[in-house]
């Protein structure tokens, strides 16, 4: 795994939104990570922590405020028109809501074929053949090609979304909560499909989700976000076994385990209050307001994300 080359590198990425009256919403406030080829990086955190904004900024749906995104050796924010086209083909996205992310007035063929046409990959009969292949690849049937999105269930729609992303033969896919809108028994179908496709095509995933059990299942490494910053990043088993940041510890302890015998013996680390507003956040550690161990230094200085043991990064003044 060590020899794999880095496909994407995010350096101090910031995405701020101007919300009027001179206020700035710092949705993503300086995050850095790398993803290797064929790897899955999980990005977890609670709603409003900036994980989706991060994904959308990386894929180019938002213009970044500051920082760099290096994809396959190219700086994504400084691409020529030609290179931009190449990038949008290499990097694709699967969205959370399979109802809102498919155009209801287009047939499945049109939806999947759109990317193929834009990039001029296949024409005529070959194009149709390619679409049939893609449908079969994601577990749908040829007959589905001329139907409209409303004729499908949630799980099937998510498969269409996956086929659309795969149509342009990408290297990298941002999966933004791809399963949270689906039923439990269907979630496993889609996750298995994503894993199979990764094995077959060597895809690289950024898997954004709030379901920590599922993220742990699918990811090689996991980054935990809180209020626009990464507070901890480690190999997934390591993160679950030895969480170092107080927020990661609380987050993991809050996830219920589907086994009453295990649940009865578990102690929860309760967090008081809610996530503060990302508009003009206070200086220092983002978590200090809810952290039971917070000290003076936490209120004054923002902790850097440092490597504590090999491959295990944490941003906390109290972790040595």
């Amino acid at each position: 795994m060590e020899e794999r080359k880095t496909l994407i590198e995010v350096r101090n990425l910031k995405k701020h939104f101007n919300v009027g009256r001179g206020l700035t919403l710092k949705a993503v406030d300086g995050i850095s990570f790398t993803i290797k080829e064929g790897e899955t990086l999980g990005l977890v955190g609670e709603s409003g922590c900036g994980k989706s904004t991060a994904g959308r900024t990386i894929i180019g749906l938002y213009d970044l405020t500051d920082g760099e995104i290096i994809f396959d050796g190219m700086d994504v924010s400084r691409l020529s028109k030609q290179e931009k086209r190449q990038f949008t083909r290499s990097a694709q996205m699967i969205f959370q809501d399979p109802y809102a992310s498919l155009n209801p007035r287009m047939t499945v063929t049109d939806i999947i074929g759109e990317g193929i046409d834009i990039h001029g990959l296949y024409k005529g009969e070959e194009r149709q053949k390619r679409i049939y292949n893609l449908l079969e690849l994601v577990g749908l049937r040829r007959e589905h090609a001329n139907r409209y999105p409303h004729e499908f269930s949630g799980g099937q729609r998510q498969r269409i979304g996956i086929a659309r992303a795969l149509a342009v033969e990408p290297k990298f896919i941002v999966c933004d909560e791809p399963i949270s809108a689906l039923d439990v028994s269907i979630q496993a179908q889609v996750v298995n499909l994503l894993e199979d496709l990764q094995d077959e095509f060597g895809l690289t995933y950024l898997f954004i989700a709030h379901d920590l059990s599922m993220v742990k299942h699918i990811s090689d490494r996991i980054a935990v976000m809180y209020l626009g910053a990464i507070v901890e990043l480690a190999e997934s088993n390591e993160l679950y076994e030895k969480p170092l940041h107080p927020y990661t510890q609380a987050l993991l302890s809050a996830v219920p385990i589907p086994d009453p015998a295990v649940e009865k013996g578990r102690k929860r680390i309760m967090l008081e209050g809610d996530v503060p507003s990302p508009i003009n956040p206070p200086p220092g550690c983002k978590f200090q307001g809810r952290c039971k161990m917070a000290q003076d230094i936490c209120r004054q200085k923002t902790p850097e994300l440092v490597e504590v043991t090999e491959g295990h990064f944490v941003a906390c003044h109290l972790v040595k």
Partner: protein, 338 residues
């Protein structure tokens, strides 16, 4: 058996739509004892929310209608209650918490006033008394500065705060039964943990019975005393939490348990999904509703709905595999045969 608070028998609810009759609930039978938590587990469209809303008579009729069955609450059949009679039950003896705290609170009304409404109506309190009690309720559900929150509108609350406010409204009149329909689905895990803990605390203090409707097996494992697993409008298996998690007997229950990854297990096992999708309730299958997705399905499963098999006094299952003529199948959860 006089500690049974709610006794639902053969409840059958249909909706008449332009496309035909949707048989949302097709004969469910269950009971809730005093002070216990019953979890109804199932996927979207299995009829769990319709069951809950029928108990509260919140189903618009028409298009909905109770085709048959009884809902005995303390011996009286709610299914036969008029709107007027129901008004005296709703919010007083039975209350409900909804999934989406954003849309189930009135946005044009101060939160305090929304809590006071039920108190004034049911407990015949005057305004001053109701206000005092409302603030007490806000404090009880862990709201900091309840006096200030009393005067605020729902939009000034965060998601977790709104759900707390809903719980305060629901519990203000000390109901005997609380129906919580996916109470934490819209919330983050850390807030979910807060809310579930709060509900358990209050249950202990007030001895309320709870029907918890959810699809999250983790939440169920934490709080449920008993579990009913619903599929396509019928309960296919029911038992204590321990029986359902450690000795499940229905292939659908096996499938549910095998399809969720567990945070506490290290190894990366491939998930075992349940293939296919639930049946269409416009024309539910005549046999076992799960037969089309069941890897153990036999000929008879597609023909006749299996009768109830009582495994002991608390655990029952509807499955042909229990029949003495059925092949011996290895239980993938316990690893044992029948």
């Amino acid at each position: 058996m006089d500690n049974i608070l709610l006794d639902v028998r053969d409840l059958t609810v249909s909706f008449d739509t332009y496309a035909g009759e949707v048989q949302a609930v097709r004969g469910t039978t269950f009971h809730v004892k005093k002070g216990e938590t019953l979890a109804i587990v199932g996927e979207s469209g299995c009829g769990k929310s319709v069951t809950a809303q029928t108990i509260m008579q919140l189903i618009p009729m028409p298009p909905g209608r109770i085709k048959k069955g009884n809902i005995f609450f303390e011996g009286k059949d709610l299914a036969k209650f008029t709107d007027k009679q129901m008004e005296a039950v709703r919010g007083k003896d039975i209350s409900m918490i909804f999934q989406d705290p954003m849309t189930s609170l009135n946005p044009t009304m101060k939160v305090g006033k929304q809590i006071m409404e039920g108190l004034i109506k049911h407990q015949k309190m005057n305004k001053a008394e109701a206000k005092e009690r409302a603030i007490e309720m806000l404090r009880l559900v862990g709201m900091p500065t309840p006096e200030k929150r009393f005067e605020q509108y729902p939009h000034e609350f965060s998601g977790g705060m709104r759900q707390r406010a809903m719980i305060a409204i629901a519990l203000a009149c000390n109901p005997k039964l609380l129906i919580a329909d996916e109470p934490t689905t819209a919330l983050d895990v850390t807030i979910q943990a807060q809310i579930m803990e709060l509900m358990q605390d209050l249950q202990k203090k007030l001895n309320t019975s709870i029907i918890l409707i959810t699809h999250d097996l983790g939440v169920v494992a934490k709080v449920a005393d008993r579990i009913a697993v619903m599929y396509a409008g019928v309960i296919i298996e029911s038992g204590t939490a321990d029986e359902i998690f450690h000795n499940p007997q229905h292939p659908y229950t096996w499938g549910l348990l095998k399809s969720v990854p567990r945070l506490d297990l290290g190894q990366k096992e491939r998930l075992v999904p349940i293939d296919g999708t639930p049946p269409d309730l416009f024309a539910p299958p005549k046999g076992c509703p799960f037969a089309a997705r069941c890897e153990y399905a036999m000929k008879i499963c597609k023909e006749i709905h299996p009768e109830k098999t009582n495994l002991n006094s608390s655990h029952y299952v509807h499955c042909w595999l229990q029949h003495s003529y059925a092949p011996n199948v290895k239980n993938p959860i316990t690893g044992e045969g029948r």
